[in-house]
Symmetry: C2
Subunit: 332 residues, 2 copies
Amino acid sequence: MKHNDIPKPEKDKLIIGIDLGGTKIGIALVNRNGQIKDYLKTSTLAEQGREKVVGRLLQNICHMINKSRENDNEISGIGIGIPGPVNSKLGIVNFAPNLPGWDNVPIKNILEKELNIPVKIENDANAAAWGEKIYGVAQGVNDLICITLGTGVGGGLILDGKIYHGKNFYAGEIGHMVVNKEGPQCNCGGYGCLEVYSSATGIRNRIFLKIEESKKNETISRAIAEIDFNIGLAKIFQQAREGHPVFHEIVNEAIEYLGMGITSLVNLLNPEMIVLAGGIANEGDNLLKPIKKIVFQRAMSSHLEDFKLVLGSLGDFAGVIGSAALFWDAEK
Amino acid sequence: MKHNDIPKPEKDKLIIGIDLGGTKIGIALVNRNGQIKDYLKTSTLAEQGREKVVGRLLQNICHMINKSRENDNEISGIGIGIPGPVNSKLGIVNFAPNLPGWDNVPIKNILEKELNIPVKIENDANAAAWGEKIYGVAQGVNDLICITLGTGVGGGLILDGKIYHGKNFYAGEIGHMVVNKEGPQCNCGGYGCLEVYSSATGIRNRIFLKIEESKKNETISRAIAEIDFNIGLAKIFQQAREGHPVFHEIVNEAIEYLGMGITSLVNLLNPEMIVLAGGIANEGDNLLKPIKKIVFQRAMSSHLEDFKLVLGSLGDFAGVIGSAALFWDAEK
C-alpha cells in the first residue's frame, strides 16, 4: 500500500449557524447531524450601526472558518437568523426593530462577496421552527407552528413541509393575533395583541401596572410591598404558583390568553404540532400543562385527533442550529 | 375539399361543478372560462340518508351529461364542494354535519365507477376560495383567504398558490378562531368563537337573547316590541343602520369581532387578499367599509402594504364555479 492510499478520515461537512440578536450574536459550527462542534458568543453592539455589526460578523465568521480549517473541515454554507422580516429568497433584510440601520440590507450578497461561501438568511423565529423540524422535537412533522415566547411572542409557520412566508415575508406574527377586542395598545400600533399579555415584557408591564393601580387597596398593597422591580421571569412564575395575588392573576391571564391564541391556531391551521420555545418555555411543565388543559378543552375535537403541543428541544441553541438547518431541506 | 375536411367547431370542454348543500344541490355546466352554460338546482332531502342523496346526485349528473352530449360537448370532469371536511387527495368525505350518514364516504370512487368520468371533491369553502382565485376577484393572487359569511363562518386558505388543508384536512375554520376569552359556548364545543358573533345564526341568536334580557327594561322593550322573529338578515342590517338599539348593538359587535379576526389573519398569515363571500357579504359596502376601517386601523402597517380586503365576485355561483375550477390548477 502506497502512502497515498491510506484512507483519510472523511471530512466533516459543516455549516456555520448564526443567531444575530439585538444584544448578542451566537455563532456555531454545526455538522450534518445538528451537533454543535464549536460555539462562540459576542456582543452585537447594535447601536454602533450596521457597518460595524457586519464587520464584527465577518471577523467572527473568519475566526470560525480558520478554526475549522485547522481541523481540515470544509464550511459549505452560512445560515443566519435575523430578528426581523427578511426576504429569504433574495437574501435581503427588510428591517429589524432592534438593529438600527438594517433597512433593505442585501446581507447575503455582502457576505458571499467577502467570503465566497453560500449564505442563506431567514427570520429568526422561522429558523428556530426549521431547526425543530430538522433536528429537534418536530422531526418528520410537515405542519407545525413554533411559538417563541420571550421579550415578545414570535412565530414560525411550517406548512406542507415548507416555511410559510406570506405575500411579503411577514407571516408568523402570532404575537399580534388579537385576543382582546378591548385590550390596551400594543407596540405594533394595534390593540389587545397576544404579546401584550403573554410575552415576558407584557407580563412585567402588567404586573407593575397592577401594582400602581392597587396602591390604593390596602390588603393587596401589603402583599406586594416587597416586590423587587428587577424580578426575573422565573421568580414571577414561582411566586404566581405560590399564590401571590398580583403575580398569580397576571401569569394566569398570560397562560389563558396563550391557550386562547393556540386554540385559534389549531382550529385555523390544523397543525400536527405546536412547539413552545424561547425563554418563557424554560418554565417547562409549569407552563405546558395549564396551556394544554385549555387547548384540549377549547379546540375542535376533530382538530385534536393527532395534535401535539410540546416544548422545543433545542433550547438556547435553537437559533444557531435552526440557521444552520436552512441548508438542509429534507430530514437528516 | 372533401366533406370530411370541413372543420367542425371545436368542442367545448366542460366541467360539471356541484355545490352539495344541506338543503339544496346546485349543478352547473362550466366551461374553461368559468362561464355557466347550464344550471339546475334541486332539493338535497338529506334526511332521506346518504344512498338516496347519492342517487339524486347521479340522476342529475346524468341529466347534465345527456344535455351536454346533445350539444356535442364532452364532460371532462366533475367537481363537488362538500359541506364538511374531506380528504380531497383520496376523495373521501370525512363527515358533513348537515348530511346524515356521510361519514367516511369514498364519494369520488362511487361516482367514478358509475360514470367513468374523473371526479374531484373539496370542502365547499375551499372550493369557493379556489373559484375566486381561478375565475373571480383573486385571479393571480397566491396568498388569499376566503371567508364565507352565512349560517356559519367558514374559510378557505390558499397559501403559496395551493389550497392549504392542514394535517387532517380540517384547516380553515376561521369561524372557530377564539375572539372572546369569556364568550359563550359555541356549537363546536369551544367558547367565544368568531361564529358566535358574526354568523347569521349568531347575530339572530344574540338579538333574541338581548330581547329576552331586556324585557325588564321598559325603554328598550318599547323599541323592540315590533320585532318579527322571522326577520331576515338584510332587514336586520337595515334596521341596525337606522339606529334600532338592539340591532345596532349586535350588528356592530358582529362587525367589530369580524374586524378583529381579520386583523389576526392579516398579522398571522400576511395574505395578499382576504375575500368576503357568502350570504352576509350581500350587504356589500355596508359590511365592507366598517370592517376595512377596523382592519386598516388595527393590523400591522408592514402587513397592510399590498393587502386588499374585498367582496367575492362569484356570488351565489361561487360553489358550483369553484367546484368546477378544481380541475384547473393554473390561471385560465
